[in-house]
Amino acid sequence: MALVAFAYVIQLFLLQIVNHDKYLTVSENNSLLKKVDFPTRGNISDRNGNLIVYNRAAYDVLVTMKDVTPFDSLDFCQTINITLEQLRERFADIKDRKKNKGYSPYTPQVLITQLSVKENGMLQEKLHKFPGFELRSHTLREYSTKSGAHFLGSIGEVSQTDIDNDPYYSSGDFMGKSGIEKYYEKTLRGEKGVTIYLRDFRGRIQEHFRNGEYDVTAKAGEDLTLGIDLLLQEYGEKLMAGKRGGIVAIEPKTGEILAMISAPSFDPALLVGRERSKNYKMLVNDKEKPLLNRATSAEYSPGSTFKTLQALVCQQMGGITQSTYFPCSGKGSHPIKCTHSHGSPVSFLGAIEQSCNPYFWNTFRTTLEKDGYGAKNVTFKKTYNTWRDYVLSFGYGGKFEDSDVNEQRRGNIPTEKYFNKVFGETGWRAITIRSLAIGQGEILVTPLQLANLGAIIANHGYYITPHLARTADFGEKIYTKVDAKYFDGVVQGMWQVTDIGSCRWYKIPDIPICGKTGTTQNSHGKDHSLFMGFAPKDDPKIAIAVIVENCGFGATWAWPIASLMTEMYLKREIAPNRAYIEEKIVNAKFINDAVLQSE
């Protein structure tokens, strides 16, 4: 008898002390029902306090299977705009324990998500006819604008990978999937709260666990203010309608991005709610790739805009000075033709103003050959690497790693290794890589990098990481390797471009703009049209880069767009005598109008 008692006590010991934790977990899983209280997501507004993204109520239909009695399913479906097949499918999904692990006929299950306010109202009225069904509200993103889809990003249901990476999330939660929504997910989402209930063996809720001792109150997400100027953003998208390309405008002093336009664009509201997956599929399959943020993720040859950077770097390296002259034979020049007609020899300022190819080829060659080639090309390659390092210090050839712009491409400034591979260790010289002199060849930049170059020149040698949100994380000045003193000449040259050069036609009468156009050949059709610049000349408030694909000269398309954008930003309106420019741009369509707008 004592033996039996002993054996039983041992078993009790094993159950209660040794394996206590295991059984405790099981018992908690059994009986504790954790009801999550979702916090409201933070709002997003622009630099002037205009609300861009906020929340609206949406409604889910929940169903408790045990309480459902035969109902008029046709009426039900019509009320919430779904088909009978969809309803049947949803019921089947809910009951499938493989797909819906937490299924119990005694607790409410999500049947249909994200009803519109109208549908909700209709169903609410008829709810008494459908026992077992109930409505639960939660929030959805709402946009005050149809612009900014690319950088705002969207929120979507978490994937299994997201759940594995961050235990905060559980199945059915929503999180930022791209853009600002993704980068500032932790700020915007707030903290979920939880209310713990006791659940009996049938899954019915019985009471509040320990009177709420272990409950957590939900913490609302924080609001976010962007550096974006909504007026400018919307205006930019209006100008870019029917075109392919990107615009980035930056405030040089702060690095705040004022506008970031990628065309073709789409209405951010398309990726919200029940239609999200359908619309997403449509956008993905669109041949004009509206989902691609061309402002940060498309790489273009910088073309002649690169000459400003070339002039800066080559001065710093001692290849030229502001009083260097080179001859130009116009179209007969060798090895690179000049595309404009102007006098010869050409000066430093004149070369920038006239975008003289031979001048910059000579500048490039003189700089790279200043120490000669050396044995086995070693000296030349060393000089090339120095040149490359100078260029990289302008933010070219790499991402802005600490920026809150989520989707960026690196661009490209070719490495020594690359040329060694293509031409052999000793097989390449200045003449071999002459395309780099005028921003063609292997060089690639994104509109964001290009706009940042404008900001650097405006700041005479430094930039602040371009960023979207106004937070305390940004503000450190990042200096390029080119001294401030070399910038004056370039700024002067860029001013001449818009004052007396190719851009004189569309200049804003009382705002001196500095800029440089670019026209780059490409394999997809007509030339890309580029412009990079800043304004006003002496107290720069906006640096801007515009790239329009396959449309023609930089001075014909990109420049007037930049001009209008600058005017809009600085004056908040377009002068009546310039309205014709706006009209010309808006009416120009280079692609089939693939711009997607929700009804």
């Binding site: 159950l15 209660q16 018992s27 009986s31 006791l198």
Partner: protein
């Protein structure tokens, strides 16, 4: 002087046992509150719509019964023992005829608002009858007539209860073998009892495992165990020590040869047949010895008999299991033996019960905080599975206390029984202790997952008037007998 004489003839009741009884009953009530009450809904202990409220009524009645029992003249129990027994059996028979089926058994007698379970009351009646019969001055359990009579007394209620489909309650009567053992039944029967259970478990536990050549592991092990038992018995009982050594050697050599043949695939010999051949040969050999010694060594006849009985029994174990036991009983046994795992079907109760017990930990979740029991994850939590409420809410400490209290009560009864002057009181005392012991063995064993699920209550803890009253009567008849001992 009269007063003095009266007090001398009346010894006071055994307060230790009464105190233990009271403690257990009170703890039972607390557990029922814990199993059924919610923090919010538990407002009034006297709410008679709840189990704990009703149990309070049963406890009140039980106290009255206990008090009455102590007041009754002890001789009445002796005199009326057969009469009480007859009444109980009659009641059982009536129940079979009258009772409607509740949860698969026909054991409830409904008298207006009160339901009684006569099977509970048959326990003390049988105990009284047994004590009366076995206390005859010429009683010898080894006499066939007496032994049959004892078996008959047990047989009547057991059959009735089985007919009521209350297998659990019927099994309680098997524990009287311990009483018989105390009253002179030889060790042999106790060993036989254990041997039968051992073979049963051994065969079933390994029945699903087979060799490539088709032998069942369960059978092979059982036959092996029979041969080992044969050798051990010979070694212990046969004066000629050479005999068991030679036997052992022969059997070992035969089995080794069989193994070698099979191993090198010269010729396949079925292990089951080889072992059965050895057992058969052994049976013949011992029969031969018995005849050779001119029946002087009866032990050989016995060994021979055991061998034949064991083999026959082994043959029929699977049959008994699949044909005589009901499917749900088979499943419960399989789950306990770990042959099958069925946490949502047959194993649900025990699985949830183990979760409740395990989650209690050392100190428990606290009174009324047991989620497993209160939210009814454990079925029958206020009756058969009441012990897991104790474990969940009061932890290892609470469970240990309860086990120790029961142990103390049983030892106290045994102690008192040994000090009785009359054989009637002593035998009755042993019956009481054994009945308590069996209930604890099965009930707690079941709740902690060491025994198959057999629906019998935990004395004094489980909710229910019939069970509480019958255990109270059972105990207090003995305390009354004890009081009049001197």
């Amino acid at each position: 002087m009269l007063y003095y004489n009266l007090s001398e003839t009346r010894k006071s009741a055994d307060w230790i046992a009464i105190l233990l009884y009271a403690l257990l009953v009170l703890m039972g009530e607390v557990s029922i509150i814990g199993a059924c009450g919610n923090v919010s809904s538990f407002t009034d202990i006297f709410s008679f719509s709840q189990f704990y409220g009703k149990q309070l009524v049963w406890i009140g009645c039980a106290s009255a019964i206990a008090f009455a029992m102590l007041k009754i003249d002890a001789k009445i129990f002796l005199v009326f023992s057969y009469f009480i027994y007859a009444c109980a059996v009659a009641l059982l028979v009536v129940t079979i005829a009258v009772a409607t089926e509740i949860k698969g058994s026909r054991s409830w007698l409904v008298l207006g608002p009160v339901s009684l379970q006569p099977a509970e009351f048959a326990k003390f009646a049988t105990a009284l009858a047994l004590a009366r019969y076995m206390s005859r001055y010429d009683f010898n359990i080894l006499k066939l007539k007496h032994f049959s009579m004892v078996c008959f007394i047990l047989f009547l209620p057991v059959v009735c209860i089985l007919l009521q489909n209350e297998t659990g309650s019927a099994l309680v009567y098997s524990i009287f073998i311990l009483v018989f053992y105390r009253e002179g039944l030889p060790d042999f029967f106790l060993f036989l009892f254990c041997w039968v259970i051992f073979l049963f478990i051994l065969i079933l536990r390994n029945a699903s495992v087979s060799f490539d050549s088709g032998e069942q592991l369960g059978n092979v092990l059982a036959y092996g165990a029979i041969i080992v038992a044969e050798v051990v018995m010979t070694m212990l009982k046969e004066p000629n020590k050479r005999m068991w050594r030679i036997m052992f050697l022969c059997e070992f050599v035969v089995m080794f040869l069989v193994w070698v043949f099979n191993q090198f695939e010269w010729y396949h010999i079925n292990y089951e047949y080889a072992l059965m051949f050895l057992i058969g040969a052994g049976a013949l050999f011992h029969l031969g010895c018995f005849l050779l010694y001119m029946a002087k060594r009866k032990i050989h006849l016995l060994i021979s008999g055991i061998l034949i009985f064991s083999v026959a029994y082994s043959f029929s174990v699977n049959h008994i299991f699949t044909e005589i036991l009901q499917p749900h009983q088979q499943m419960r046994i399989k789950v306990t033996l770990g042959i099958e795992d069925d946490p949502y079907g047959a194993g649900y109760n025990v699985n949830q019960s183990k979760i409740a017990i395990g989650s209690g930990g050392f100190f428990g979740k606290g009174f009324l905080n047991g989620t497993q029991t209160k939210l009814r994850y454990v079925p029958e939590q206020h009756t058969d599975f009441i012990f897991c409420t104790v474990c969940e809410e009061f932890g290892f400490l609470g469970a240990l206390s309860v086990v120790l209290l029961y142990l103390a009560l049983i030892y106290r009864i045994l102690y008192l029984a040994e000090h009785q002057k009359t054989e009637f009181s002593r035998i009755y005392g042993y019956c009481v202790a054994c009945i308590f012991f069996f209930h604890l063995l099965i009930n707690i064993g079941m709740v902690i997952g060491l025994m198959p699920v057999i629906g019998i209550p935990l004395p004094f803890f489980s909710y229910g008037g019939s069970s509480l009253w019958s255990f109270t009567i059972l105990l207090f008849i003995f305390l009354c007998l004890d009081k009049n001992n001197k």
